[in-house]
Amino acid sequence: MAKKIIIALAGNPNSGKTTVFNNLTGARQHVGNWPGVTVEKKEGTCSYKGYNIKVVDLPGVYSLTAYSPDEVVARNFIVEEKPDAVVDIVDAANLERNLYLAVQLLEMGAQLIVALNMMDEANSRNYRINVEGLSRLIGAPVVPMVAKRNQGTMELLERIVEVAENKVRVKELVINYGREAEEEIAKLERLISQDGEFSRKYSSRWLAVKLLEGDEEVIKKFKEVKVG
């Protein structure tokens, strides 16, 4: 019996996410719609070392602030379905903006693997990226890749299996939002942690930050009547 792993692919538009998806799944793809919204849902499968890996391609987004249906879909999948691993495709030649999504994924407590794509472009611009250093600072595996030449796919699969098998745990990232904001976050976090259902299901800190961001989707969650 092949062991099943579910992973999600996240990434900015133009980060080469589709290429990575094609590299992983080949022709075994299925295109549909996410329930209730007009956002395309692409799924595929991939076999690796006796594992049956289901790859869900999330819509390409810059952020997870629930601004657009794309962002809501991407975030809900990660928060509610809790895939075994989330692969964030990052453009190595445009790290600053691309890591913004990675940071948000880490704050959500996702089991993140950063696929550092387009290393060739970064090299041709003479960017020197310390891959181990980046991995250490964000606390998640980082895999350098050139997806259009199918380079790095095997290493990515290896990391996916490690993370999915809990051999590597990715810790929730805590960003310091400044003294005043942190005081308020701590206050809300304490309140949320008393809510059994929410604190079991979600990170209390993440919910607190989202409330302070005025995130409509999260506020909606709080407004829903508690069942049971």
């Binding site: 094609n22 020197r128 310390n130 005043e180 904001a181 206050k187 809300l188």
Partner: protein, 435 residues
């Protein structure tokens, strides 16, 4: 702990933070995240002290230049169609030869099976399949434009113009995609956040002549305007775009008043499209076309042959035909073609192929001889085909994207009305000059 209380506490916290950060409170979180990223990049990313201008920046100096941008875009579109037509000719000749051979073979069978094969299937499906080369090349050219990063530049270049009709540059991308097929065009409207902008952009997309209408243009322009065929085909695209833009303006002044949404878009770096990437794209869209040709077109063509063979088709056509008399093409064959074209635009040519039992090569001549069409009538007919009712699949897509039957039904009627008015005007006014 009650969740309502948590919400109240969060509102208090937010109010407190607003009093400290004034109106920047909303961006504090984003700012802190970017601060964290800049901090870590100082440690792990070494950029060269002086960054050279990237190739993308250099190309952009020309491509999005205020004066050069628009002419360059038009040249690009013209070049794209030239590329598609020139390259597809030899392939079309091969397919044509293949079907000619098959047709002879089938005619040898004789009786109704021979007629079904030769006239119905080979005449009908063959006259559509011969357009696979230009349709696929068009898909390919559009994929290249998308993958290399030019599409976003086109949106930037056209923003000023789109602004004048109450939309912004992003609404232009679905229009270019519509050249291939209106379905991806309509679906691409998802990236437009403002609902009024979005529905306007969806409703004007069917006017953009898709690849399936190409067979009609090539067939009729090729026969009736021989030397100027290229120009006439190009004019169909211009007419489609102009009507789309006019209708956008009309919608923004009537149904969807109000300011358009904000135009914020990333310009990706230029990238050499990979062959694999283009092929995957091509396959996604091309296989859709092939499936359509294999299912809808095939069954409709067989149905038409059956209705024709049993003598039912002509009365149906004669019943509809008078509607098109003012447009110049009031013959029952034309009416039947247009009627079944609702299922898929390729069917217009496919139906003609079955009715005249002719392949593409001689079909133009058959139409001229048996229907008595003049170049003016052919032109009016082509314009009608550019503008009239979106195909069934496009209608279904509009329904899916707007999540209501209101807009697809509206699209069916308003496009057909505009098509009828435009074709009638062209035919009637043209008649005054041609005599």
């Amino acid at each position: 702990m009650d969740r309502q209380e948590i919400l109240q506490a969060s509102e208090q916290s937010l109010a407190h933070l607003r009093s400290i950060y004034s109106d920047e409170a909303e961006t504090v979180v984003a700012d802190a995240r970017y601060g964290f990223i800049s901090g870590l990049l100082k440690d792990v990313l070494k950029k060269p002290p002086i960054e050279r201008l990237t190739l993308s920046d250099k190309i952009d100096k020309v491509v999005v230049n205020r004066w050069l941008g628009l002419p360059l875009f038009l040249a690009m579109m013209y070049g794209m169609f030239q590329f598609v037509f020139t390259l597809s000719v030899p392939f079309m000749d091969w397919i044509d030869a293949g079907f000619g051979w098959l047709s002879e073979l089938a005619a040898g069978i004789g009786g109704w099976p021979g007629s079904l094969l030769a006239d119905g299937i080979i005449g009908g499906v063959g006259s559509v399949l011969i357009f696979i080369p230009p349709i696929f090349l068009l898909f390919m050219a559009i994929s290249v434009l998308e993958d290399c990063g030019y599409m976003a530049r086109a949106a930037f270049v056209m923003d000023r113009l789109m602004h004048k009709v109450g939309l912004h540059g992003r609404s232009f991308i679905p229009m270019i995609l519509g050249f291939g097929c209106n379905i991806p065009g309509i679906m691409a409207c998802r990236t437009i956040e403002n609902p009024k902008d979005r529905i306007t952009t969806i409703l004007i997309n069917p006017f953009i002549p898709c690849g399936a209408r190409l067979p009609i243009f090539v067939l009729l322009a090729g026969y009736f305007f021989a030397a100027h065929a290229g120009l006439v085909v190009f004019s169909m695209y211009i007419i489609g775009i102009i009507v789309a833009i006019i209708m956008a303006l009309v919608f923004r002044k009537t149904l969807f008043r109000g300011v358009s949404g904000h135009f914020v878009m990333e310009l990706p770096p230029y990238r050499l499209p990979t062959i694999k990437g283009v092929l995957v794209h091509l396959w996604e869209r091309g296989s859709l076309f092939l499936r359509k040709a294999g299912s809808i077109i095939f069954s409709v063509v067989v149905l038409i042959w059956l209705l024709d063979y049993t003598g039912v088709l002509e009365p149906i056509g004669r019943a509809i035909a008078p509607i098109f008399a003012p447009c110049g093409f009031g013959q029952w064959q034309a009416a039947v073609s247009l009627f079944f074209g609702f299922l898929a635009k390729e069917v217009v040519v496919g139906t003609m192929g079955t009715l005249f039992a002719a392949e593409e090569e001689v079909l133009g001549g058959a139409i001229a001889a048996q229907l008595g069409w003049t170049p003016l009538v052919a032109f009016a007919f082509m314009v009608f085909c550019v503008l009239y009712v979106p195909c069934v699949a496009a209608i279904a897509t509009i329904k899916g994207e707007t999540n209501s039957w209101k807009w697809p039904v509206f699209a069916i009627f308003y496009t057909t009305a505009i098509a009828w008015i435009a074709a009638t005007l062209i035919f009637q006014i043209g008649n005054l000059f041609v005599g």
